[in-house]
Amino acid sequence: MKTVSLGAARPSSVKFRMPTRDNLVPIRVDVEVDGQRYRDAFTWNPCDPDSEIISFAKRTAKDLKLPANFVPQMLHSIQGQLAEFRSYEGEEMQIREKIVPLKIDLRINNTVIRDQFLWDIGNLDSDPEEFARTLCDDLNITDPEVGPAIAVSIREQLYEIASQSVSAMREAARVSKKGRRAPEFASNSKAMNNSLDLFKYFGSKGSVVRKRKEWYLYEPVVDVVTNEEVGVTDATEEINSRCDYEPLFVGFPLDLELQPKTIVARNA
């Protein structure tokens, strides 16, 4: 019985897309013009025509009262990221059950949130936005920017994993042109690195109920920092970014008073 149930997890392959229900691409913009800095993160529907990008950039600049010379930079940034996404789009992506731990470590305005949870890359029904909303509801986070930021962060990680597996396959296919066996193996070995050992928890002997002493690892931690602390962390982040060190998942600094942090262009 067990072998049958595991054998049924036959990977099906689809064209590359975000491994979520809504095929929305996370976009992170970090533009600096004339000493002013604009950082933002949002999701973009890759099916939308590219003409939307320019109007979006113009609109954003206008709403935030940014100088007009921000627009081409924003445009460039967004287009670049979308182009990268589209470069994968033709590729085959294997959809199989693969549960990976995702980490959240964000500071949004005055809220610092750290969290870790398991995410099934193969679940094309997943909805990071909904998850983030539930999380904020459960934790009583009132800041409306937190949820979208978490969702974007999740999407970024999913995007990275998905694109990695695709490029790994591509790479492997180039190296060994024998057929499908090799790339599959390659992607498998790569995926095994960070994905969960399914048998450990889901086998007949394991239990899906986590041990109590591990709870803290998968528990969200929320801190509210004061404005002074925000200034300090901002400064360190600033230094870090100057040093070309990319902190994994940074929230949004306050230097530009940006309101529309996340624009979900779902139906646009």
């Binding site: 149930s5 029904d125 239990s207 109590r212």
Partner: protein, 548 residues
């Protein structure tokens, strides 16, 4: 299945559902829930765990029914540790290994079905400042039916008692004083009717707004409860007055008498020694009206006929007793309950003929003819004298019996008799007729009686036939439906068989391909000369293969 370890450890009382039993409130709509089973509802709501949308198959490593139950049991036990506290997804998911998307879906399902967070206080202290999602709040509100039934409002009980037991079932009407209700009332006695002052024994007491207890009957006919009581002289007088004033509109008469109801008034009037006279004079002026509104409805016809039937009593007082008796018997047979008031009045030839006529209008002439024929024949056999009498007046009799038109004519004829000029013509007009048919009257009466019985029987037969046909039709449709059901079942089974066959075929294929492969491997091994360790299991498998 091992119980959720952490859950059991953290909840002091052990997993719910095992002794000691505790009661948890869940909505009635979630009554399907059982600890050791997975219900169809769950399969439908969360097909992921049961092998995709179809719900068939075994799922995958991290999604299968066993995992589902572990998740579900843990979440529910977690909630039941403290049912007054709302359990959130975020605190549940830290203790569960698995895809959070899937877990969230499961959590949302349990939440919406009320298996968790049902009795939880809707507002956590810290949640008040925050706008919760509407769906979450909707869950907290009690759904339509609860398994633990809430106590209904007190009025509910009062009504229940009032309807069920007549002894103690009553409550204070809104606008009554204590003495109104309790004045003569003692426990064990029925409530007292506010209008008639009698005890309410029928259990139908209703409390009307602004009124004391009133028998339901009192509103319409206020004398329901006095049916057995005797008539006083004053009441009789009132009755007579009413009859004179209102004719035979018995509703109005009953209202006039006030203390007796309609049927009692009628019965009483008939009991009176001069009842017929009264009715006769009264009917005199009403008969025409009554006959004008004759409809094809047999009942109306009959009742009008009967009312008019009592009037010509005097004109045919030379009737023989046996005929009267026959008539009376017949009417008893025909209308055991209705128009009881008329039994005591003496039926006459004319009325019998009229009844016959009305019966003929409601049946086909052929039937009547046949019935009459049969009746006359039987009478003739019984008594040769009767045959002669019939032969004499056969023509007239037949026309009367057979043609409904003629019968109607006779109707109107008798109306004339009962009309206002009754006094004048009472002895003249009927006498002419009587003179003609005097000899044969007795036999005619008997023949008429027999005929009408025959007609009635024929009608009954026809109705019975109709019913029978209908029953057959219904039976046929039932059988047809059953057959259809069976056919569907057969079809279903055939499909299942087909699926089984296909599965079997694929299995066989797989097996043969395995054998081939194994053969190939062996062959290659032989060719290369590599020694292969004997695999007992595989060999056994292949050895068994031809048997399968």
């Amino acid at each position: 299945m091992s119980p959720p370890v952490a859950g059991a450890a953290s909840s002091g009382d052990g997993p719910p559902g095992r002794p000691p039993r505790e009661l948890y409130t869940i909505p009635a709509s979630s009554g399907w829930f059982q600890w050791d089973e997975i219900h169809e509802t769950e399969r439908r709501a969360l097909p992921e765990f049961f092998g995709g949308a179809g719900g068939s198959g075994f799922g995958t490593a991290s999604r299968n029914p066993r995992i589902y139950r572990e998740y579900r049991d843990y979440i529910i036990s977690r909630y039941r540790e403290d049912t007054s506290r709302r359990v959130t997804f975020t605190e549940v998911r830290k203790a569960l290994v698995g895809d959070v998307t899937l877990l969230r879906k499961l959590f949302a399902f349990l939440d919406s079905s009320g298996l968790i967070n049902f009795s939880a206080s809707p507002s956590r202290p810290e949640a008040q400042q925050q706008q919760r999602q509407t769906e979450a709040e909707a869950v907290v509100e009690a759904p339509v039916g609860l398994q633990v039934t809430p106590r209904p409002p007190p009025s509910y009980f009062a009504e229940e008692k009032g309807g069920g037991g007549n002894e103690n079932g009553f409550r204070l009407p809104p606008l009554t004083s204590y003495s109104d209700v309790f004045g003569e009332w003692a426990p064990g006695m029925a409530p007292i009717c506010g209008l008639c002052g009698m005890e309410c024994r029928d259990g139908n007491t209703q409390i009307l707004k602004g009124e004391a207890n009133i028998h339901p009957g009192d509103k319409k006919e206020r004398i329901d409860n006095h049916s057995s009581s005797a008539w006083t002289d004053a009441e009789t007088l009132l009755l007579l007055e009413g009859v004179l004033k209102h004719g035979d509109d018995w509703d109005l008469i009953a209202q006039h008498v006030r203390t007796k109801n309609k049927s009692e008034c009628i019965a009483r009037l008939i009991q009176l020694p001069f009842g017929e006279h009264m009715l006769g004079t009264v009917n005199g002026k009403l008969d025409n009206r009554l006959h004008k509104i004759q409809t094809t409805d047999g009942k109306v016809n009959k009742s009008t006929v009967k009312e008019s039937s009592s009037q010509p009593t005097e004109t045919v007082d030379d009737m023989q007793i046996d005929g009267n008796e026959d008539g009376a018997d017949k009417s008893v047979e025909e209308h055991p309950t209705k128009h009881r008031r008329l039994f005591s009045s003496i039926d006459t030839t004319v009325s019998l003929m009229e009844q016959l006529a009305h019966l003929t209008t409601s049946t086909s002439p052929d039937v009547v003819a046949a019935a009459a024929d049969a009746a006359i024949k039987a009478l003739g056999n019984e008594n040769p004298q009767a045959r002669r009498a019939f032969q004499l007046s056969e023509k007239e009799y037949q026309t009367r019996a057979f043609s409904s038109n003629h019968a109607r004519q006779r109707d109107y004829c008798s109306d004339d008799v009962g009309g206002g000029d009754r006094d004048v013509e009472m002895h003249g007009h009927p006498d002419k007729k009587q003179g003609k048919m005097f000899i044969s009257t007795t036999y005619q009466v008997r023949a008429a009686v027999a005929t009408s019985i025959g007609v009635a029987a024929a009608r009954a037969k026809r109705l019975a036939d109709q019913e029978e046909r209908e029953m057959e039709l219904l039976m046929a449709s039932i059988i047809e439906t059953q057959l259809k059901k069976i056919q569907y079942k057969i079809k279903h089974f055939e499909e299942l068989e087909l699926i089984m066959d296909q599965e079997y075929a694929t299995l066989q294929q797989m097996k043969s391909s395995l054998v081939d492969e194994w053969q190939k491997v062996l062959k290659r091994a032989f060719e290369t000369g590599v020694p292969i360790s004997r695999d007992e299991v595989l060999i056994k498998l292949f050895q068994n293969k031809p048997n399968l």
